[in-house]
Amino acid sequence: MTDREYNDCVTLYADNVYRFILKNLRREDDAKDVVQSAFEKLWKNRGSVDAVKSKSYLFTIAYHQMIDLLRKEKRIELKPTFREEALVSDRPVHPLKKILESALARLNETQRSLVLLKDYEGYSYLEIGQITGLTESQVKVYLHRARIQLKNYLVSLENII
């Protein structure tokens, strides 16, 4: 990967990686740190990373760093001391989208990541498996369970309303 290709990666994929991480962590500062760390690693290893696979490389690095961060938070058991504005504030969006955001928050980390990688980035089961370290069949099963869980939440909420 050349320096120019690296800069192209920044232009093309920085927002995607940031979005993916922010939706999982729901904290802007942590999401920024993860994205910066992922691109720093890509810069250091640019000699061995093919430009074609740079996007999946970035998502892979960012995903594993995010998982490490979440596990660390579970051990430390952080209290919500972040500023309100630092949290992802739901801007005025469609009510259905808001319900989906809340339903997404109910999923576990793996299911949420699979849904985001599938819907946001359009990765195939095989590519998602390469990024997350799961097999293709595992991705398929986990993702289908997440879809059904989201649908059930959406249907049940509609019934209540």
Binding site: T2, D3, R4, Y6, N7, V10, T11, A14, D15, N16, V17, Y18, R19, L22, K23, K32, V35, Q36, F39, W43, R46, G47, R91, L96, K97, L100, A103, L104, V115, L116, K118, D119, Y120, G122, S124, Y125, K140, L143, H144, R147, I148, L150, K151, L154, V155
Partner: protein, 341 residues
Amino acid sequence: MITRDNYEEFFLLYTDNELSAADAQAVERFVADHPDLREELEALLQCKLSPDTHLVFPDQEALLKPEPEGSAETGTSLSETGAPLYYIDGLPFLHPDNSIVFPDKDRLYRSAKERPIIPLPWLRAGIAAAVIAAIALLFLLTGRQQPERPAPSVASRAATSTSITAKSPANRNVNPGVTSTPSPTLHLIVEGPPGTNEHQPVRKPVQRRPDQQQDLAVNRNPDEGQVARSTIDPRKGMDQPEPAVAVMDMPVTGNLASDVHFAVQTGIPKDQSSFATQALQDEQAGIGRESDFGTDEPAAPARTKLRGIFRKVTRAFAKTADRDSEGNRQVLVGAFQVTLN
């Protein structure tokens, strides 16, 4: 084939866009045929998330890296051309100057063949040195004596006569168990053949009982004309003293408490006598001196030249009772004191 039993999996795959175009059309036809299942498919499609395009990475400029100027001119980066790039804080600034080489590179090479170092403790080294020194001294002394052996010297003949005297029947009569008697008498008679200038010193210590302190005639080969006679009893004096024979009666003090008689031919001047004769005379004189000191050492037959060599070697490598500050034993090698670890 989509049925009511497996439609849910097809709907999920349709939602994930994992179906082929033909299968996707089959799902759409199945839903058209089964309108009651349409709501379920639409619910799954509503669960699909759309990316929030308003979310952008705020510090995207910070992630960008400056591209090398050279590559901007040529349109390719240095890494593509194969040249290495060196960065500090992300900025390329230095390229190696391959024209600078180390001038004395040959001096830095080391040969793989090295002499092995064998650890040798001090004690083993001392023992090895003592053995080597003893062997060397033995070689030197035997090397000096070897040239004299071919010549029929007086010493060799004297030794022969001594051996003959020792094996003579007269000596066999001497009871060896008598050595523990309280006052044995040692008689040594050396007598040369009459009419010849050569002397054949014979030193033969004989221990006798007191009641047998009489004439002890040691008959040698009569063909050679040599007669060894004893003039033995000091109380009676010497019988028939020969002019060419000097008899020395030397009482030996010590444990043996015996009388020793030395008879050495003295008719020959010392400067005209052979080396062996002089050596024998010197040795006998030395024995007499030691006897005068009254030492407790055993009788003369045990003193050989090898014994002297071993004594010198043991003196050279003496173990001292001193210990250094660390409590290690010390060995005295010549004038040097060596500590044993």
